[in-house]
Structures are given as structure tokens and as C-alpha cells.
């Protein structure tokens, strides 16, 4: 690693190129770990997964035939090679319950999950950044203690409610009592409201606390004092000088939040019977449809890794020092 780093530093390429190369290198290693883990998953299950899937009353010949079809009787290394080969050609295997290709199952279900997580993240950011920045400005330097207390305690409580419980509460209130939105399912725009809001609220509360704290620390820096010494109007100090700096620091945690959100979809989808990957993976685990489970785990994992990569690159672009700081 140190040799590689030195090479990058000595070469005449810009530090930016080196930074992206290192990040992609890290992504590739993580991907390999992920793929290997999802491959091994099926082999770590105690007993025979095929027997478990087909049930103890299934005839032995059928089990053997299915094991052969899945390649489970080959030596482990060969299975691994086949698995990797399959991945590269987009072949993720076949579902044991529906006999559909796993890639097709995922392709059908992915858009619903992606839409829900994406919209929820967008909503969370749209709420958290203005609210957090405003609270930071209002409570800077120990001003307005009561406001600070009200904001902090509200956001702690909201952030502590897990998405799926919030979803249950929202369903009761807005779908059953008020009848404003459908109870479950994915159809028109109205059906998106409750799932997206229940995913976004907790994250928005957590993120707005972070934005506020970052805003406070930025407002206390020397360069904000410089901006004030230049007699810039307050809005310029807050929007131009403070907010971008507060957001670079927020972005790292926002990224972690987004990957947690990817996982959070699993629970919320099950509350709303949302036809996405989350309800698919749970149903497949319960039905012991391991090829589908493997495939979906892989998709979720790749989603998380991509989110992390994007956050790192965005950080590098927003904060001109981060390429230098990188070790």
C-alpha cells in the first residue's frame, strides 16, 4: 500500500486521479469480499440447503437431482469458479420456488425499492439541511436555550423510533383513521407518501441534529470571523461561508445514513406490502429459496458499496483538502 501511495505521489498525475484510483481499489476489494461471502453463505448453512428447501418428506432422488442441477455436488473451488463466471455473464442462478432466473426477479423488484429509498433520502435531506442550518444559526453561541432544548429532545425521540414502527403509526393515523392514503401497495403517487415519509422522518431528525452541530462548529471558526470582519451581510455568511463547510462534514454521516436506509427498506416494505427487494428477500428466506436470497444480498451489498463510493467522491469534490489529507 505504501509503495502504491508513494508511486501515486511521485507520478505527475493529479492527486485527484490517485484519490479516485485508491477509492476504486477499495471498492474492488470490498466487492470481492461481498461476492465471496454471498457464495459461502449457502455452504455455511448447516445441513443440506436443498433438503431444507424441499422439505424432509421429499424423495432422495429428487434432492440429488436438484443438487446436481445446482452444481452442489462439484468441488467447492469449481462451484466458486462457476459462481464468479455466472456473475460476470449476469447469471445469478434460478429461483428454487418460481423457477424464474434470479436476475429477472431482481430486475422486476429493484425499481420499487430504488424509488422508495431514493425519494426518502431526498426528502430527509430536504428537511434536515434547512432545519439543521436554521437551528444552528438560531442557537449559535448559546443563544435561545429553550429552542435548542425543544429541538434536541424532539429530534432525539423521533430519531429513536425505528422506521417500521413509525410506519405502523402513520398507517393507523393517515390510512385507517383519516383515510388520506392507501394502507399498502404500490400504485399511484399517493401510495408513495406513507412509505417514503416513514423512511425519511427518523433520518431527517438525526441528520438535522448533525447539520446543526456542524453548523455551530463552523460558525465558531476563524474564517467565519474573517467573513464578519469583511462586513458581509448575515445571509452571505450563513449561506456562502458557513453552510458548504457544514455540509462537507455532514456528508460522511449522511452517506452512512443512506446505506442504513437501503437496509431500512426491508422492514418498511413488509409493513406496506411494497413489491420491492425487501419483501422478496424475506419471503425467500422463509421459503428457503437460497439463490434468490444470495442474489438480493449481493444487490443490497453493492448498493451500499456504491453509496459509500459516491459519498467519498462527493466529499473529495466539495472539500479541496480531502485529497491532500488522504493517507
Amino acid at each position: 500500500m505504501s509503495i502504491a501511495t508513494r508511486f501515486v505521489a511521485d507520478a505527475t498525475v493529479s492527486p485527484w486521479t490517485g484519490f479516485v484510483a485508491r477509492r476504486i481499489g477499495r471498492l474492488v476489494v470490498s466487492l470481492w469480499v461481498l461476492v465471496t461471502a454471498s457464495f459461502l453463505m449457502i455452504h455455511l448453512i448447516p445441513g443440506d440447503p436443498v433438503r431444507a428447501a424441499l422439505g424432509s418428506s421429499a424423495p432422495g432422488a429428487l434432492v440429488e437431482a436438484r443438487r446436481d442441477a445446482l452444481g452442489l455436488n462439484d468441488p467447492l473451488w469449481l462451484q466458486y469458479a462457476h459462481y464468479l463466471q455466472g456473475l460476470f455473464s449476469g447469471n445469478l442462478g434460478t429461483s428454487m420456488t418460481s423457477d424464474l432466473p434470479v436476475a429477472q426477479v431482481i430486475g422486476d423488484r429493484f425499481p420499487a425499492t430504488f424509488e422508495m429509498a431514493g425519494l426518502a433520502f431526498l426528502l430527509a435531506v430536504l428537511i434536515a439541511v434547512p432545519v439543521g442550518a436554521l437551528m444552528g444559526v438560531l442557537t449559535r453561541g448559546g443563544r435561545r436555550r429553550p429552542t435548542e432544548l425543544a429541538f434536541t429532545s424532539t429530534s432525539i425521540v423521533v430519531a429513536a423510533i425505528p422506521e417500521f414502527l413509525l410506519a405502523v403509526g402513520l398507517v393507523y393515523l393517515f390510512a385507517i383513521q383519516l383515510g388520506w392514503f392507501p394502507v399498502a401497495g404500490r400504485s399511484d403517487a399517493n401510495s408513495y407518501v406513507l412509505p417514503v415519509v416513514s423512511m425519511a422522518l427518523g433520518s431527517a431528525a438525526m441528520l438535522s441534529r448533525i447539520v446543526r452541530v456542524e453548523m455551530l462548529s463552523v460558525l465558531g471558526t476563524d474564517y467565519i470571523r474573517t467573513a464578519r470582519a469583511k462586513r458581509l451581510p448575515n445571509w452571505m455568511i450563513y449561506f456562502r461561508h458557513a453552510l458548504p463547510n457544514a455540509l462537507t462534514a455532514t456528508l460522511t454521516i449522511g452517506g452512512l445514513m443512506l446505506s442504513a436506509m437501503v437496509a431500512g427498506t426491508v422492514l418498511v416494505e413488509n409493513v406496506f406490502a411494497w413489491p420491492g427487494l425487501g419483501s422478496t428477500i424475506v419471503a425467500s428466506i422463509l421459503a428457503k429459496d437460497y439463490p434468490v436470497v444470495q442474489g438480493v444480498v449481493l444487490v443490497y451489498g453493492i448498493g451500499v458499496l456504491l453509496v459509500n463510493l459516491l459519498v467519498d467522491i462527493a466529499l473529495g469534490m466539495l472539500d479541496p483538502r480531502s485529497t491532500i489529507k488522504e493517507s
Binding site: V29, S30, V33, A37, M41, L44, I45, P46, R140, G141, G142, I156, A160, P162, F164, L165, V168, G169, V171, Y172, I176, V183, D222, Y223, R225, T226, A227, R228, A229, K230, R231, L232, P233, M236, R240, H241, P244, N245, S259, A260, V262, A263, G264, V266, L267, N270, V271, I281, V282, I285, V293, V297, Y300, V304, L305, N308, D319, P320, R321, I324
Partner: protein, 651 residues
């Protein structure tokens, strides 16, 4: 440790959350013993009922009482959450400690593995493990436990690494204490506290995760039931009996919060030092700025020439609220600055120099309180409420240069933009004109390749260049005053001279007044015509810079001078220092603040505070016993100045 946990629980938030947690834990133990019978009694005549006096939150599809089921489920929910946390902490500790025990290579491998695992959300890991361990209670405990392990491992690694760098660990290493011994006897006890706090918060997380898995049908399987299971069953009947779903959800939230908040409360108390009980003598309160009696006895010599003055200040006070009454770092400062005059402000740290400068620039932040009987800049009153015109005047005519050029530029904005915005805002220039002006100003402060530099970020500038750019930013307008607060302290000696010469030449060329704040007497003597010596928030002497060498009358000025090492200082003897410690701004004594350190102090000095009185033309002193120093200092300072000048030429 126990004492600090108790302290945490004495805070209102701590007490409430501790009470909540106690209730949850008590319920977890008691409920299964008392009410298992009621909770599992099947009643086919009362299936799926809503809330009623007999069944507070209704019944399930077998007619079982949901309220009792909810209470009894506390036991299993808490038990499983604690078990999972236990597994997570143990596995995390092992993974976290291994890198410090095994060979470097294996340690790195473990660290890399943990880093990859940490990137994945806990729920995803839990589902992965749930597949491997099989659907059910045991599988879920293992799954959630292992899913929380990576973040514990990361924390442990970080804590161990920080502790290992401490001196006492190095000492133990030198004393021949083995790796394992060091870890068990020295490191682990010291990192136990944050780990326990995190584990407490983690238990809350596990409880929520378990509810999630059970809700999905991957955790507890019937006939056993925890809150997640009850929620799963209740959600199907949400139309018939909403409470069947809402009540277990609420229980999960409350229990999760209880663990979380206790952990947070303790973490917060650990972050702050323990309050010290039984402190010594109560600090004496300084009269608050607003009620303070103004020190008006001495009128400054430049009073008659006020119309020429760039800046005039009378009775300036700055105070901050402190835990034991207000702290007043500036207590009645009065002086004037003439056009084109360079005045130095010297004094030890804590003498109120910087707060004076910030108050003059009207940059003291909340909760600081500034008051003065008079504050004028270019003949305009600065005490009235701020206006746009005043902002513009200050923005173009009052420049500030701060101590640390590393931190005083915005790291995410290009230098050019930061300079140009002054001209855009206050001079009505458009972006192109403003950038051209900025390039011109960078050239004026002798920064080569100005156009290219404009497009760079602050971190691409060297320290000295950054400070010159800061001065360049100050002269974007046409300043009449530059206030420079320790402008060279953060720079190395050769660069210091460049910056000082730059300030001097700007002063000469544009007839700008300079207020140079510094603790360095020689530096001030080099640039300034007049020197204000500050002690404990007041000006104790105001004298021509040429008089510094041997003609200072205040004992503090003399002591400061004597502490300046020069070419003749005997290097075998310890450096001279001003004896004693500077006055604490939260408890300034009644009389002369310097009395406790002054060789000439008598009863009068400890009784009455001397006023700043004019002794000679242009020389004011606040002392009951002013006298000229000996000739030795004069010689040595002149020598020293000569030496500095030589150094400047060399650089």
C-alpha cells in the same frame, strides 16, 4: 467509574431515563413470573376483541389477553436483546484486541476485514447471518450479535490504539510488562467506561433490531412471543384493533429509548469533567460593564486633535458571563489613533489585547457584552444601532488581519472569490472588476503570479503568503485603519519580517493607521510610533515607542522589557521572567491589578486602582510609583532592535 455514572443519573435527563430503564428491566423479570398464566389462557369466546375493561388492549385470534401478553413479552424481548449485545460485545472485543496482540500482518488483515464489515448496515448483516443460522430465536440472537460486532471491534481498536500511545503504556512496556499483561491490566480497565456506555446504547439498538427480525417472521417463532412477534400478529388485525399493533410498537420504542438515553446521559457526563465541590475562596465579582463607574479622570493627550483621529474610544468594557459572575477581560480602555499612526498594544496573554481589538472592530460574539462611553471611527459614532451605511464604511475602511492565516481563510472557497466579495459587496463592482481588483491587490502585497493564485484554494498557499493575502484582502477597499492581531505569531521568523515590512510600507504609502497587537516588544518597537502597554484589561502605560528602551515608567513595562532576551543575555542563566502570574480576569483584585507582582507595591497600591494620568507630553502612566528604569535596558533593547533589523535584511 461508579461515581461518575451516579453523577450522570442525577441530571434530569439521566434520572428520567434511568427510571425508565429500571421499569423496563423490572418488568422483564417480574412479568413472566406473575402473568404468564393470564397471557397464555386461550378463550374461544373472546376472539379478536377490541379494548374493554377486561382486556385493556383487546385479544388476539385465540382470545388471549393482549395486555398481559405485552407485559410478559418484555421478558423475552429484553433477554434476547441482552444476549445479542453480549455476543456482539464479546466478538467485537476479540476482533478489536487481536490486532494489538498478533503479528502486524494478521492485525492488518483483521482491521481491513472489520473496516469492510462496518460499511454494511447492521440489519443487512443480521439477515445474512439469519440465513446461515436458520430462522428462529437462536439464529436471530447469533445474527444480531455478530452484526453488531464490527462496530464494537472498530471502537475497541480505536480505543486500544489511543491508549497504547499514552506514556504510562510506554512506561509499562519499558518495565518489561508483556503484551497480554499490558492489555489486561493497563489498557482494558482504561477503555472499559466508553465500551460499557456504547454497549448500553447498543442494547437499545439490539432490542429494536430484534423487534424488526421478529416482525419480519425471522426471529422469535410461535408459540413463543416477543414484542416484534406481537406486532407482526397485530398488524394483520390493524383494521379491527389498531392497539394490537400500536401497543407493542410503543413498548419497543420506550424500551429502546430507555437504553439509549441512559447511555447518552452517561456519555455526556463522561465527556465533561466532574464538577469540583467545595472550591476555595469565592471569586470576587467585577462590576458589570453596564454599571461600572467610568474611568474618566485622565483625558488622553490626543483629545484636542479628535477631528484628525481615525479611531477614538473611551471607557471600553468587554465582559462575558462566567460560572461565578461576569468575566471582564477589558476594563475601561481609552485612547485615540491619529491618521497614519502606528500604535502597538503589548501585554501578556490574557491582558485583554485581543478582546480590545475585537471590540473596536465590533466583532465580539454573543454572549460577550461590549460597552463604552464613546466609540467613533472616522468621526462616526459606532455605538448606535448598526446600519447598512456603517457596514459599508467598516467593510471598506476598517481592515482586520488575524493571528492564524491557516484558519482565517475559508478552506472551501478560492482565494480570488474571498477577496473579490469585499469589492462586490461594498464597492459596487461586478465579478470581473472585483477579480481584477483582487489580482491588483495580490500584486500589491507582492504575491507573484497573482492571476493564477486567485484561482487557488487557501491550502495551496504557504503560511506567509496566506498572511500577505489576508493583508491584501484588508486593502481591497481603501482602509484608514488596519487592526492586526498578532499577525506574525503563527509564522516563522524570516516570514515575520516580510509581513511586518509589508504592513509598514502600506502604512507609509497609503497613510493608513495601524493598530498592531502583539506580545513581542521588539516587533512592536520596530513598526510602531506609540505603544500601549496593557495589563489585566487596562492600559497601564501609553508611551512613544522610542521611550520603550529605558524610559518606561510603569514597573510592568520595565519588567516586560527586562524579560526580553538580547545579544548580551547570559545564556548560562535562566531566562528572566516577569515574576508571578497574570491576574485572573474573573477575579481582578481591588487595587492595582499588578500589585501582587510589583516590587514597589505598598498599601495604597492594594487599596486603590491608579488612574491613567499624563506624566509628560504624550506619555501616560497608571501607577502610584512611576519612575524611570535604569540605563541597562535601553542599551539592550537598542542592541536587540539592531539585531532584528539585521535579521530582516538577511531574509
Amino acid at each position: 467509574m461508579a461515581a461518575r455514572w451516579l453523577a450522570a443519573l442525577k441530571t434530569p435527563a439521566g434520572a428520567v431515563s434511568a427510571a425508565m430503564l429500571f421499569l423496563v428491566l423490572a418488568m422483564a423479570v417480574i412479568a413472566p413470573i406473575l402473568w404468564t398464566g393470564q397471557a397464555e389462557e386461550i378463550n374461544t369466546r373472546a376472539i379478536l376483541q377490541g379494548p374493554s375493561p377486561e382486556h385493556l388492549i383487546g385479544t388476539d385470534s385465540l382470545g388471549r389477553d393482549l395486555f398481559f401478553r405485552l407485559l410478559v413479552a418484555t421478558g423475552l424481548s429484553v433477554k434476547l436483546a441482552l444476549a445479542a449485545t453480549g455476543i456482539g460485545v464479546t466478538a467485537g472485543l476479540v476482533l478489536g484486541v487481536v490486532p494489538s496482540l498478533l503479528s502486524r500482518r494478521i492485525g492488518r488483515l483483521v482491521t481491513a476485514f472489520v473496516n469492510i464489515a462496518v460499511a454494511f448496515p447492521g440489519l443487512l448483516l443480521a439477515m445474512f447471518f439469519a440465513v446461515i443460522f436458520g430462522v428462529g430465536q437462536t439464529g436471530a440472537v447469533l445474527a444480531i450479535g455478530l452484526a453488531t460486532a464490527p462496530s464494537f471491534a472498530r471502537l475497541t481498536q480505536n480505543l486500544v490504539a489511543t491508549q497504547s500511545e499514552r506514556d504510562y503504556i510506554a512506561a509499562a512496556k519499558l518495565a518489561g510488562v508483556g503484551k497480554v499483561q499490558r492489555l489486561l491490566r493497563h489498557i482494558l480497565p482504561n477503555i472499559a467506561e466508553p465500551l460499557v456506555v456504547t454497549a448500553t446504547i447498543g442494547a437499545g439498538g439490539s432490542l429494536l433490531a430484534f423487534a424488526g427480525l421478529s416482525f419480519l417472521g425471522l426471529g422469535v417463532q410461535p408459540p413463543a412471543y416477543d414484542w416484534g412477534r406481537l406486532l407482526n400478529e397485530g398488524l394483520n388485525d390493524i383494521y379491527v384493533n389498531p392497539l394490537a399493533a400500536l401497543a407493542p410498537g410503543l413498548a419497543v420504542v420506550i424500551a429502546g429509548l430507555a437504553f439509549n438515553l441512559v447511555g447518552e446521559a452517561v456519555a455526556e457526563t463522561l465527556g465533561t469533567p466532574m464538577p469540583v465541590s467545595g472550591r476555595g475562596a469565592a471569586p470576587q465579582r467585577v462590576p458589570q460593564a453596564s454599571t461600572a463607574k467610568p474611568y474618566t479622570a485622565a483625558e488622553p493627550s490626543t483629545d484636542g486633535a479628535d477631528s484628525k483621529a481615525v479611531l477614538t474610544v473611551r471607557d471600553l468594557f468587554v465582559s462575558f458571563p462566567g460560572p461565578a459572575g461576569p468575566i471582564t477581560p477589558v476594563r475601561g480602555v481609552s485612547f485615540s489613533l491619529a491618521r497614519g499612526e502606528a500604535v502597538g498594544v503589548v501585554g501578556e496573554s490574557g491582558s485583554g489585547k485581543t478582546q480590545t481589538a475585537l471590540a473596536l472592530a465590533q466583532l465580539v460574539e454573543h454572549p460577550g457584552n461590549v460597552s463604552a462611553s464613546r466609540l467613533e471611527f472616522l468621526g462616526q459614532d459606532q455605538l448606535s444601532s448598526p446600519s447598512r451605511a456603517r457596514r459599508q464604511l467598516l467593510g471598506t475602511s476598517f481592515a482586520m488581519v488575524f493571528q492564524d492565516p491557516m484558519k482565517s481563510f475559508n478552506p472551501t472557497m478560492r482565494i480570488g472569490v474571498q477577496l473579490a466579495e469585499v469589492a462586490q459587496r461594498h464597492l459596487g463592482m461586478n465579478r470581473r472588476q472585483a477579480l481584477a481588483r483582487a489580482a491588483d491587490r495580490l500584486r500589491a502585497v507582492r504575491i507573484p503570479a497573482a492571476e493564477r493564485r486567485l484561482r487557488q484554494y487557501p491550502h495551496e498557499f504557504s503560511g506567509g503568503m496566506r498572511q500577505r493575502a489576508m493583508i491584501g484582502m484588508g486593502i481591497m477597499g481603501n482602509p484608514d485603519l488596519i487592526v492586526a492581531d498578532e499577525p506574525t505569531t503563527a509564522l516563522d521568523v524570516t516570514v515575520q519580517q516580510q509581513v511586518l515590512r509589508l504592513l509598514s510600507s502600506i502604512k507609509e504609502e497609503n497613510h493608513v493607521a495601524i493598530l498592531l497587537i502583539s506580545h513581542d516588544l521588539t516587533l512592536v518597537a520596530q513598526v510602531c510610533e506609540r505603544v500601549l502597554v496593557m495589563y489585566a484589561g487596562r492600559i497601564v502605560e501609553d508611551l512613544p515607542a522610542s521611550d520603550l528602551a529605558g524610559r518606561g515608567m510603569h514597573p510592568y513595562t520595565q519588567a516586560l522589557l527586562a524579560a526580553v532576551p538580547d545579544m548580551e543575555t547570559d545564556r548560562d542563566r535562566p531566562l528572566a521572567v516577569v515574576p508571578g502570574r497574570p491576574a485572573d480576569p474573573s477575579q481582578v483584585p481591588v487595587g492595582c491589578a499588578f500589585a501582587s507582582r510589583c516590587p514597589k507595591a505598598d498599601d495604597q497600591c492594594t487599596r486603590e486602582d491608579p488612574q491613567l494620568v499624563e506624566r509628560e507630553d504624550g506619555h501616560r502612566v497608571a501607577c502610584w510609583h512611576p519612575s524611570r528604569g535604569t540605563g541597562r535596558e535601553r542599551v539592550s533593547v537598542e542592541l536587540k532592535l539592531h539585531a532584528v533589523a539585521l535579521q530582516g535584511e538577511a531574509s
